[in-house]
């Protein structure tokens, strides 16, 4: 007999329990060193982490002769490719924030803390930090030993390398953040010539401290005690939410596999109590106690358990994405029958439409019309009624413009003060006071709409215009 199935089984069992005693459930007093194992969800996790790559790279993209995306705080402008957004258009930002808030809500309601488990910077950066830790210091057991062991030259070297790498990552994080707010190439030039402004330096230092401390030391404790989103998302999860769940119907009573025993005689459930799910958990949670606030739903325990089940030839999915309802034998409620899905989707749709509308109607010039309230109107000696307006011309371009203001062709209407064009200064609001006179007998109603037009051409000869409705008020 070349391969004895029984002895192979025994070897698997040996390996399985070799480390079971090491895994602790996290109560905060001991540092969690999670085991890394390959698996499907591990791959998803890496892919999800990639969303942070643009954070580091996008600031270096150029558009025309400036940074493609730049939050220019000193000049109060936001450049997005060819578009410049001024504070006046920032209502779109609130829609964007609304969009992401609701996206978080809908994803959490359907699949638990996907944000926490896969996308959150806390999770991603910790993951990167521990990846280096593992590369340098070895497996969790070795790390623990190293931590407790005496101070040797190797220990100092390994630790110093690790901290250096951590600090480099932290510094890159801080610099990349600042690069969204000032010219990225200039930033590096200033940095290497020690010419960086104090705000940028302080921001980068704060980021270094924050990243290093949070991803290097606090790690899962951040999610346990510091982060408000943990609890906020916690309350969004309900019985219909599919989260990594231990199927206790199948798993219990758990029992260790005994060497030499055969599958057929087994009286225990499918859980072999190997503690692998605890071993891989970055927050040190035992998922077999049910969904709990420490669980960031990273699904790594699914990988761990599936690997064990595979080795023991038991069906996979003892731990799997499942809702409590389904686990308890209830039928899964279809997505379209859940009111939350509808409400959330509606809000998502509205905010997308709002942003789309805002971006589509972004004009290079924009006018606001302020009707003078006191007095609302003035009687003129020729019997006409005069209203006073302040026109504010916003010029979003980087050149001064000569803007002509006009009013519609109402019979007898006279526009005073718009004879010369307004010199609209670049990136600024320029006011102009105007008077409109309409003969009293031409006024049919006490208050009638009046549209003002602004027109100009930029240096390339492109025609730009904007209009704004106001009112003309007369006596009763």
């Amino acid at each position: 007999m070349s391969v004895n199935p029984q002895s192979k089984h025994d070897a698997v069992v040996d390996e399985l329990y070799a480390e079971a005693g090491h895994w602790k459930i996290n109560t905060g007093e001991e540092k969690i060193h999670a085991k890394r194992i390959p698996g499907k969800w591990r791959i998803w996790k890496w892919l999800a982490s990639l969303v942070w790559l643009p954070f580091f790279l996008v600031p270096y993209l150029r558009w025309d002769d400036r940074q493609a995306i730049l939050f220019d705080i000193p000049n109060r402008q936001f450049h997005l490719l060819g578009v410049t957004i001024l504070p006046q258009d920032f209502w779109m930002l609130s829609l964007l924030l609304l969009f992401f808030a609701i996206l978080l809500a809908v994803v959490t309601a359907l699949a638990g803390r996907v944000w926490c488990g896969f996308f959150c910077f806390q999770t991603v950066w910790t993951d990167i930090f521990t990846w280096f830790e593992e590369k340098l210091e070895g497996s969790p057991q070795k790390r623990k030993k190293l931590d407790q062991g005496p101070l040797t030259f190797t220990k100092v070297r390994v630790k110093a390398t690790k901290h250096l790498i951590w600090i480099v990552i932290s510094a890159l994080t801080g610099i990349s953040f600042v690069a969204w707010f000032m010219d990225a190439y200039q930033l590096w030039a200033d940095l290497v010539s020690f010419n960086l402004g104090i705000t940028a330096v302080v921001t980068i230092l704060l980021f270094i401290g924050g990243t290093y401390g949070l991803a290097g030391y606090l790690r899962e404790q951040t999610c346990f005690w510091l982060c408000p989103y943990a609890r906020i998302q916690g309350v969004m999860v309900d019985n219909t939410t599919a989260v990594p769940t231990y199927d206790f119907h199948r798993g219990e009573p758990r029992g260790r596999v005994k060497k030499g025993s055969s599958e057929a005689q087994r009286t225990t459930g499918d859980c072999v109590d190997c503690n692998q799910c605890v071993a891989v958990c970055p927050t040190g949670v035992d998922i077999r106690h049910g969904q709990q606030e420490g669980c960031i739903t990273c699904a790594l325990c699914i990988d761990a358990c599936d690997a064990v089940m595979e080795k023991l030839d038991r069906p996979k999915g003892l731990i799997r994405y499942e809702s409590l309802d389904v686990l308890n034998g209830k039928e899964e409620r279809p997505l379209l029958k859940r009111p939350r899905v509808w409400v959330y989707s509606l809000v998502l749709l509205l905010s997308v439409i709002g942003i789309g509308y805002g971006m589509a109607t972004l004009d290079a010039i924009e006018i606001k019309v302020i009707h003078s309230r006191q007095p609302l109107y003035v009687l003129q000696s020729d019997g006409s009624i005069q209203n006073k307006y302040t026109i504010k011309v916003l010029n979003k371009l980087t050149e001064d413009l000569q803007v002509t203001i006009s009013a519609p062709d109402i019979e007898g209407l006279v526009l005073v003060g718009a004879e010369d064009p307004v010199t609209a200064r670049k990136g600024m609001v320029t006011p102009r006071t105007l008077f409109v006179r309409i003969p009293r007998d031409k006024l049919k109603v006490e208050s009638q709409p009046l549209v003002f037009y602004a027109e100009t051409t930029d240096s390339s000869g492109k025609r730009l215009s904007s209009k704004r409705e106001s009112v003309f008020i007369g006596p009763k």
Binding site: Q374, P375, V378, L379, Q380, G383
Partner: protein
């Protein structure tokens, strides 16, 4: 409680919520104590540097000599510095020159708002809309002329309208006729307008004379604008304006500001007023 404490040996008080949120009874952490003592030191340092401890007859002044008033004045000086640039420019310019410069006239309008509010708004309304018995400044009707220099003069020297009371010179019938003629907008068509010498002040065409400050009787604007306009016109004809011999006379006095305000202030006000309705 104590015997089934799920977290034994960690010094908790036995108060546990949500499975694992628990109240611990640990000494305050070192960093916290350091911060605590540091903040006490901070308070002591603050007390030495800044005014702080009240006493019976005052308070400790602190060695930095800082006062709230001082800081306020510094802030004020800063504002003055910004203004100074404009103000020196304005000094050498006439009101007309200021009006020709869009930037300077908007500065003037912004900075004269308070002046107008303090000195003029009580009668003329906060935006020149006028008040009962007081002329509107926002329209294009200027009794004494609407050029910015004339407005400057009106503010500096004040104005006092004169119209003699006609009560004793007109019969009721004549009064009715004249009033009706004035209401019609073409008083010159009424022979009494000549006969009674109204034209002497209001002009042969009834359009008034700015040099005298006599009202234009042909336009749409009434100097004494009342709900019953006919009665108002009659009242004015009968009792006149500022006629001391008639106790029922109308009062129309613009006080003189030349001795209350500086030349520059008056210049600014003239620009401000001119900008209400575009002047004349």
């Amino acid at each position: 409680m104590a015997d089934n404490n799920p977290f034994p040996g960690e010094n908790n008080t036995g108060h546990i919520w949500d499975d694992n949120l628990r109240e611990l009874d640990n000494p305050a952490p070192r960093w916290w104590m350091i911060a605590f003592w540091a903040s006490i030191l901070w308070v002591i340092g603050y007390a030495i540097l800044y005014p702080m401890i009240p006493g019976l007859s005052g308070y400790t002044k602190g060695i930095m000599g800082w006062t709230q008033m001082g800081e306020y004045k510094e802030g004020l000086d800063e504002v003055q510095m910004v203004r100074a640039e404009f103000e020196t420019k304005l000094q050498g310019m006439t009101a007309k020159e200021i009006l020709a410069d869009e930037g300077l006239s908007s500065y003037t309008v912004a900075s004269a708002k308070v002046l107008f509010g303090d000195n003029c708004a009580a009668c003329h309304g906060s935006n020149g809309q006028g008040g009962p018995g007081y002329p509107v400044l926002a329209d294009d009707n200027w009794i004494y002329g609407g050029a910015v220099e004339t407005i400057e003069q009106s503010i500096t020297n004040g104005r006092m309208g004169i119209m003699p009371a006609q009560a004793n010179l007109l019969t009721d019938e004549e009064l009715d006729k004249l009033a009706a003629a004035v209401m019609s907008g073409n008083p010159a068509a009424e022979p009494l307008f000549m006969e009674k010498a109204c034209f002497a002040c209001h002009g042969p065409d009834g359009k008034g004379m700015q040099a005298l400050g006599s009202a234009n009787l042909t336009d749409a604007i009434w100097r004494f604008n009342e709900a019953d306009q006919l009665a108002s016109v009659k009242q004015t004809i009968k009792h006149g304006v500022n006629d001391t011999s008639d106790p029922l006379t109308r009062e129309a006095v613009m006080p003189k500001f030349g001795d209350r305000l500086s030349k520059d202030e008056i210049k600014k006000l003239a620009v401000y007023v001119y900008k209400f309705g575009g002047g004349q």
